[in-house]
């Protein structure tokens, strides 16, 4: 892939970070940390990986993206707005009564959203159902589910892993946004999440580990996932929680739900290249 394409992806990702901060400030709450950590993965999916646009959003053959870590919806909304599913004007009403952007995704209220995630573990199973449904119907489309690392605490995830491997869902890709933090603390201070790679392998998945902020590694991982036959793929993407806003990086409290004020807001706006709240 040409250098300019990566430059475009970097620009797209920068726009998403800006939108995330703007939405977060308008809402007065929300989950900035985990939204910022998955920006590159979501940028890749919407710009390069998926056959999904406003033109084919109701076509059964479309690729599907399920944000199983639903609290990171700022990132999803930013990408959907960038791709024209709705106007950025909607950012102003995020988390407010009557708005189309809910605190967690709602497919009936927000154009482009596939599933009402937010209750952890469920989006992953839903995605497995989409993948199985596509296989049964003989469709070639693919399904992508983005999981949080804390979300892996849910037993339902491991039920889904057994099911996905048993059904040989090679049209399904899970991505773990492994930013190392969950709501309260470091994952490793909450429960025994490691060895993550070995766990997914033992459950019968094709596992790839990458730097989740590096577009070359992201591209390579999704290419390898596409080539895999007979097994679903889990991409473990090592990321930085709060990526791009210096004082949010690796600080658990920015998991949310909160928003920067005063000097912190000025700093966040400056760092994401946003001059004023639109």
């Amino acid at each position: 892939m040409s250098v300019s394409k990566y430059d475009e992806l970097e620009k797209f990702a920068a726009e998403l970070r800006k939108s995330i901060i703007i939405m977060n400030c308008h809402a007065g709450s929300g989950h900035p940390g985990g939204s910022l950590s998955c920006v590159e993965i979501i940028s890749w999916l919407y710009c390069n990986e998926m056959n999904y646009s406003t033109e084919n959003m109701n076509d059964p053959e479309r690729d599907r993206f399920i944000l199983s870590k639903g609290h990171s919806c700022l990132s999803l909304y930013a990408a959907l707005a960038e791709k024209g599913f709705f106007s950025k004007e909607a950012f102003k009403t995020l988390r407010h009564a009557g708005g189309i952007l809910q605190g967690h995704p709602d497919r009936l209220k927000t154009p482009g959203v596939e599933f009402n995630s937010g209750s952890l573990g469920q989006g992953f199973s839903f995605a497995l159902g989409c993948a199985l449904g596509a296989k049964r119907a003989g469709r070639k489309n693919r399904t992508y589910a983005l999981l949080g690392d804390g979300e892996l605490n849910e037993g339902q995830i491991w039920e889904g892993c057994m099911f996905g491997a048993h059904q040989r869902l090679d049209n399904m890709v899970g991505i773990v946004d492994y930013n190392k933090f969950q709501s309260d603390d470091l994952n490793t201070n909450i429960t025994a999440i490691e060895p993550m790679n070995d766990k997914f392998k033992a459950f019968g998945w094709h596992v790839i580990e990458i730097d989740g902020h590096n577009f070359r590694e992201i591209e390579n991982a999704f290419t390898r996932a596409r080539a895999m036959s007979g097994k679903p793929t889990m991409i473990i993407a090592h990321t930085i929680k709060g990526k791009g806003i210096s004082y949010m990086e690796n600080v658990p409290k920015w998991h949310g739900s909160l928003c920067p004020t005063g000097k912190e807001r000025e700093c966040a706006m400056r760092e994401c290249g946003c001059e004023e709240l639109i």
């Binding site: 599933f115 469920q122 199973s125 839903f126 049964r136 039920e159 889904g160």
Partner: protein, 310 residues
């Protein structure tokens, strides 16, 4: 007299020959729910999900999204408690066309005991927005309602059952789905029953007729949406109501009827139900005696309701 679970499995099999728009999901209880009949005939349309109900429910929503109707089957305790949050957040809230079919309802489960006897499922499911709740009284009603349920889009909780039930209806019955069905008409009181209690309600009504108490008997298989006009009519015209269910006395049929009666047309209501205690092992008939769910118990409740008339 046929097992509700066997009837369910056979009905699915017959329906599958007529329409290809549904698949059946199982959580390793095909023998218990009766879906093994379907599995034998249509292995390609039977999806084994393992003992993992939470994944099965959310996964079913994904299948529905891809354009097929999933009929999710398991025992009612798991459908209404273990996987209830998946039923709410993955199925009802996003409005996916998933049909949840649960067997093993109430004390009718029998020897397996309290862990497997759902006494709360009506209360739980009817409190979820967009969810319909249907509980046919016998294999004939079950067979009649199944195509209707598949033809109508939306999340649904269907209560099948387990034990052999005497037929309440004859083969030629024409059902008006969604309505409370008048099985006997009467003037002194109305007995409203659901599931295994319907045939017991009819026995009670016959006994009461001999005492000179004329009872209307309603089959309340549509628990949600409930036929409110039939409830109001019963309260107005007969002035006393007895509800009968193999379910806890809170939040089930009795609770639903009381909500309507209190709001629209106050009248005495007595509940024949499990008295807020857990079940136990035993033959269904023995348990029904122990827990007060027999025709005699209904007779006593009707006498009491009539004596309380306003």
């Amino acid at each position: 007299m046929e097992n509700m679970r066997d009837a369910f499995g056979k009905i699915l099999t017959e329906l599958a020959a007529e329409r290809d728009d549904f698949v059946v999901l199982d959580a390793d209880v095909a023998g218990g729910t009766g879906t093994y009949h379907f599995r034998e005939a249509y292995p390609d349309r039977f999806i084994q999900c393992g003992i993992a109900e939470q994944n099965m429910f959310s996964m079913a929503a994904g299948l529905a999204e891809s354009g097929i109707i999933p009929i999710v089957t398991c025992y009612a305790v798991f459908a209404s408690m273990r996987a209830i949050e998946q039923a709410r957040n993955s199925i009802a809230y996003p409005e996916f066309n998933v049909k949840i079919a649960a067997s093993h309802l109430g004390l009718d489960v029998g020897p397996d005991g309290a862990t497997h006897q759902a006494l709360e499922d009506i209360a739980i499911y009817r409190s979820i927005p967009k969810m319909s709740v249907v509980s046919p009284a016998d294999p004939i009603e079950l067979k009649a309602v199944m195509p209707y349920l598949l033809d109508n889009t939306g999340p649904l909780y269907l209560r099948t059952g387990r034990s052999p039930l005497p037929n309440v209806f004859d083969e030629n019955t024409i059902f008006e789905h969604g309505k409370a069905q008048v099985l006997r008409d009467g003037t002194d009181a109305t007995i409203m029953a659901v599931g295994v209690m319907v045939h017991r309600a009819l026995i009670a009504a016959d006994a009461l007729a001999k005492e000179g108490i004329s009872c209307r008997v309603l089959n309340m298989s549509w628990l949600k949406p409930m036929d409110e006009s039939a409830v109001i009519k019963a309260a107005k015209e007969t002035g006393a109501i007895v509800t009968c269910e193999d379910h806890n006395k809170y939040g089930g049929l009795g609770g639903a009827v009381m909500e309507i009666v209190c709001e629209c047309c106050p009248a005495p209501v007595e509940r024949v139900a499990v008295n807020d205690i857990f079940g136990a092992s035993g033959e269904p008939e023995d348990l029904a005696k122990e827990y007060g769910l027999m025709p005699d118990d209904i007779v006593k409740a009707v006498r009491k309701a009539v004596s309380r008339k306003l």
